[in-house]
Every structure is written in structure tokens, then in C-alpha cells.
Amino acid sequence: MPPSDSSSKQLPPVVEFRGVDFCYSTQTVLHNIHLSAERNRVTALIGPSGCGKSTLLRCVNRMNERFISARVSQGQVFVKGKNIHDADVDLTQLRKQVGMVFQKSNPFPKSIYDNVAYGLRIHGVTTKDILDDAVERALRSAVLWQELKDRLNQNALRLSGGEQQRLCIARAIATNPDVLLMDEPCSALDPIATLQIEELMQQLARDYTVIFVTHNMQQAVRVSDYTAFLHLGKLIEFGDTEELFSNPKQKLTESYLRGTFS
């Protein structure tokens, strides 16, 4: 879906990678990445297995730091105009404003309300009214409010797979982040649930900037505005989704799109 309004082109990109190299101890897994994600647009990261898509995604909220000796060895990552590796960046604030949804839906074994309110509670919100409003807003955005408004105290594990993943999305957007990162959000779901999540992703782009990783090329075509194709840690091609899929400029991109390798 191409961006139609030109006003977005004047705003700086929300997420920007400038010449980023990333390595796990001695092995470099990302080489010289130049990438940017526009505000209120959906950006897809595609590529064969092991090309570094998830690593790239996790750089945006510095989740890779959970692994020992994983670091950005060159270049900078900018989110909302600030280098996130600066010393004065508070990691909890960064992660409050950059939400993440994982591949396998993992709601906490608590009630639906407690799941969605989790992010707000850890940032110090305790007033019941504020929490109630935020939970309702998040569940509405995730198209779950009508279904679940009467059973907010039910254990979240009793929901179906698709509902659980939407609950995880609601949990991630409850803190009102600017960026939403999604790591293969539909790979564990059935086709109907997948379609629901894809619709949701397009709706979410109205309020948030979405970056997602996918194995499914058709999904990238259906949902995203911009696509980045990675191979073995290098960014091969990045551009408008329609352009990239109909007129790929690189031979490697063309081979991948044709299905020669995956």
C-alpha cells in the first residue's frame, strides 16, 4: 500500500539505522545497515532464514543486550531522533515507547485485565480509573473489547491462539508507544487468525509506526508500505513495497521473490 499523503515525507523517520554493524561476540551478523522507518507506516523485513531480520528488529529496543557480548560494533541506531546507545538513555523509558510483540503469543498466566495493565503498573500507574481507561482503549484498538469486556478477570490462557496474540498486541500498546515491533506475529496462527492480525496491523499504523518481520512474502505485500530485503546480514534492497515486488532492482531480490531460495 503506497503512502498517499505527502505530509509524512517532511517528518523525520522514527527509526533510523546508520551504517550499523552488529555482532555476537566475534561473529558479525549485520553488515552496514542503512534503514529507516517512516512515521505511521508499516515497514516489513523479509529474507531467508538466518539473515538477521529478528536481530535487526531487536536492535530497535535493545533487546539483544540480554545475550552476553552482543553489541552494535559500528554505526548508530536512532529512535525519535536520539541515539539509543547514548549514556543518558534510560532503557526502561526506551522500551516503554518501543513496544514489542513476539512470535509465540505469551500472555502471563494472569487475568486479561492484569495482562494489559502490566506495562502501566510497572511504570507506576496505580489509579484504578486511569488503568481501566487504558485497558479499554488498548483492547478496543486490538479489536478485543466487545468480546472480552465482560470477562476481564478470566485467565488469559483460556483464549484461543489468535485472541492471545491480539491480547499481546493490546498489552504492548497499552503504554502508548510510538513504535510497535512485531517479530513474525502470525507464524503460529491459523489462516483466519492471521487475516485478523493483518487487518489489525494496518489499523494500528494510523496511530503507531509498525515494523514487522515475516517469512511470508504475500503478507508483506498485503500489509506493508515499505519493505526491506535482507540476506546474510546485508541489506540488499529497501523501498516502496509495490516497487520492490514488481520491479526489484537487485538480482538477489528477484531470485528470492521468485522462490529460488528461502
Binding site: R66, T92, Q93, K96, N106, R121, N155, R171, T175
Partner: protein, 398 residues
């Protein structure tokens, strides 16, 4: 000559017919050996429990409502007087009743026997054991879970941490008597106390202006015994807690961190609640062990005889017009006395009855009664722990 292979019987209707080969025989043999082993364990346990139940139940239970021997459970141990008169009647009573009966019988008295600790009841030991268990499990759970959290969530992997784990495992193998001596040296004789008049035997004193921090020990009391017992059960609690924490899926921690939680918030909200059922189960073993250990409390908490319960400590009676504050102060002192007085304890009481006084039918009766009550006490503590674990697991199941 090459031996010809033995072909199994081929049944045209059933291609999967069983073959009576050596493997099958070995299989049944092993199965019976394992059954026999289990049977031995079960019979030994049953023998012990039934023996105690059969001999102890008549002492601790009674035939009418309320079906327990209330006197046995609510009186302090006292000396049993057995008076026999010339007609051969035997009367059992305590020291006051004995005086009365002797006066009544006069010259009719044939003989009087006194058996220590076998009269009255076992309230003192029950209360003492309960206090010791509460203090030791409380201290051990706090220290143990804190160590387990540090070891599994915060500590970086390396040689030092492996040595710490090895040290904790070694602690599990230390004999109980050694723990008792450790408790004697560390808590009874040299633990720090705030006091205005330090004793001469204190190894170190630190004057602090309005009071003195004196390392003179806590003396034999529930605190010393409780802390010593806490160290006895600490290794079990640490290793079990660590395993429970590591059993919580990694995804919970990842999600929590991705939402912007600090490490402690993650542990407190997304890890500990789900590890708690397992930690409480591990405390079952701890409770049973803390209740039953004799050697660690021999030097640090227990007395053979005490005529008062801990909160009945003697205090200066207040004058009639004493202020409310003075009454409050006395009540608080009474409460604190629970922890600073020495107590009787069930295992030590059983030891005294069995090994420190001459044996006869009366002392044997008291022994079995005490052991029976002791078993019931430990079993009910364990049952409470299992019930708590069950209800928590239902709430936090994943």
C-alpha cells in the same frame, strides 16, 4: 561350524506374536525386583507408623468427645506420682494430688514411685517446637529465596558462582551436631545485642552513645535455635528454589523486559509468583526436618524442663495506678520473650524420656504419646504446605 539362528514361531494370523526370548524374561525379572524393593520400603514405613499409632493413640486420644486427650495436650510436663496402697490399688496423680492421697491413706500406703516428665502433658514441647519451626522456616525461606534469586537471576556465570553452589551443596552434608556447635558459637555466645550493660564475656563491644552493641550472644533461646535450624534446612531450600525459578519460562522475563520493567520488577511480578508453588513444596521437607532435628537445638534452645511457657515470663507486677503505656510495654516485653526464652522441644523431650530417665511402663507410655503427637504435628504441617501449594498452583498455572 556356524550356529543356525533360531527362527521364532510364525503364526500366520498374528504377525506380532510375542517371543519368549531372554529379553522378555529379563524384563519380568527386573519388574519383580523393583516391585519387591518398593514393597520393602512401604512395609518398613507402615511398620514404623502403625507401631507408633497403635501404642501412642491410646495415650493421645480418648474414647469420648472431643476424642483427644485434652489434658495430655494442654498441660506442661510434670512428675508422675504412682501410689500403691496395701490393697493393691494403683493411683496415678501429680505432686499436689499425691500429698492429698498420702494423707488420706495414712498407714495404708505401700509404696510411691515418681517418674520424671511422664505426668501432665506435653504442651511445653509442642509450643516450643512450633516456635522453633516458625522462626527457622521464616529465616530460611527469606535467606534461601533471596540467595536463589541472586544465583539464578543476577549473578554472572563464572568460576566463583560455581564455587558458591558447591559450597551450598556441601552445607547439606554437614552433620547436625556440627550445626549445633556452630549455633552455640555463633548465636548463643557471640551474636550482637543492643544493651546498656554488656557482659564481661562479650568478645567485642561497640559503644554507640545511648547504648552499646555488644557481641555477647543471645543465650539459649528460640532465636538461637531457630537461626541454627534455619541453616540446617537452607541448602535444600536454596537448590529447590533455584530449580523452581529456572522452571519459569524465559518468555515471561523477555516480555516483561520488553515492556520496560527493571530486573527486580520482572522477578517480583513475572517470575516469583509462578515459582512460589514449587518453593512452598520444597519447604515441606524443610519443615519436617526443622521439627525433628535434636542435635542443633540441644545446645541452642532446648531445656529438659521448664515450668512456664515462653510468654509467661516473670515480670515485675505493675502498681495499680500504672499508666496504659506501662501495661503496653509489659505486653510487648511478653511478646518479645517468646523469642528470647529457652523452651522445651518435642524431639528433645522424646530423647529425655527415652534415654535420660529410667525406663518403665509409665515413661514408655509418655514416650509413645509424645511420638504420636509429634508425627501428627509434622504430618499436618506438611499437609498445610501441600494445600497451600495446590491453591496457589490453581491460581498461577501456566
Amino acid at each position: 561350524m556356524i550356529p543356525t539362528p533360531i527362527h521364532p514361531k510364525i503364526d500366520p494370523a498374528n504377525p506380532f506374536v510375542g517371543q519368549q526370548s531372554r529379553n522378555q524374561t529379563l524384563e519380568s525379572f527386573v519388574r519383580w525386583v523393583l516391585r519387591f524393593g518398593t514393597l520393602v520400603i512401604v512395609s518398613v514405613t507402615a511398620a514404623i507408623v502403625l507401631h507408633i499409632a497403635v501404642k501412642g493413640a491410646p495415650v493421645a486420644l480418648s474414647r469420648e468427645w472431643p476424642f483427644v486427650n485434652v489434658a495430655f495436650l494442654t498441660e506442661l510436663p510434670s512428675t508422675l506420682h504412682v501410689i500403691q496402697d496395701n490393697q493393691g490399688h494403683i493411683i496415678e496423680t501429680d505432686v499436689n494430688g499425691a500429698d492429698v492421697i498420702k494423707m488420706q491413706l495414712g498407714a495404708n500406703l505401700r509404696e510411691e514411685k515418681t517418674i520424671s516428665y511422664s505426668g501432665g502433658g506435653i504442651l511445653g514441647p509442642i509450643v516450643g517446637t512450633a516456635m522453633l519451626v516458625i522462626v527457622s522456616v521464616g529465616v530460611a525461606l527469606f535467606l534461601g529465596v533471596a540467595s536463589a534469586i541472586y544465583l539464578s537471576e543476577y549473578a554472572s556465570h563464572g568460576k566463583f558462582i560455581e564455587m558458591v553452589r558447591l559450597a551450598i551443596l556441601n552445607l547439606a552434608g554437614v552433620p547436625s551436631v556440627v550445626f549445633g556447635l556452630f549455633g552455640l558459637g555463633a548465636f548463643v555466645l557471640t551474636a550482637p545485642v543492643f544493651t546498656n550493660s554488656p557482659l564481661d564475656r562479650a568478645i567485642f563491644t561497640l559503644p554507640l552513645g545511648f547504648t552499646t552493641l555488644s557481641f555477647q550472644g543471645w543465650d539459649t533461646c528460640v532465636l538461637s535455635g531457630g537461626f541454627t535450624l534455619a541453616f540446617v534446612i537452607l541448602p535444600v531450600i536454596i537448590t529447590a528454589s533455584e530449580q523452581c525459578l529456572q522452571a519459569v519460562p524465559l518468555e515471561f522475563r523477555e516480555t516483561s523486559m520488553a515492556l520496560g520493567a527493571t530486573r527486580w520488577q520482572t522477578i517480583w511480578r513475572a517470575v516469583l509468583p509462578f515459582a512460589t508453588p514449587g518453593i512452598l513444596t520444597s519447604s515441606i521437607l524443610g519443615i519436617a526436618r526443622a521439627a525433628g532435628e535434636t542435635a542443633p537445638i540441644m545446645f541452642t534452645a532446648a531445656l529438659a524442663f521448664k515450668d512456664k511457657l515462653p510468654w509467661q515470663k516473670d515480670q515485675i507486677p505493675l502498681p495499680a495506678d500504672a499508666s496504659l503505656f506501662a501495661h503496653w510495654e509489659q505486653s510487648i516485653q511478653r511478646f518479645l520473650a517468646i523469642f528470647t526464652e529457652s523452651v522445651q522441644a518435642l524431639p528433645y523431650h522424646i530423647y529425655t524420656l527415652a534415654a535420660r530417665i529410667p525406663q518403665n511402663e509409665y515413661s514408655e507410655r509418655a514416650q509413645y504419646g509424645s511420638v504420636f503427637v509429634f508425627l501428627i504435628l509434622v504430618a499436618s504441617l506438611a499437609a498445610t504446605s501441600i494445600w497451600m501449594r495446590r491453591s496457589l498452583r490453581a491460581k498461577y498455572k501456566w
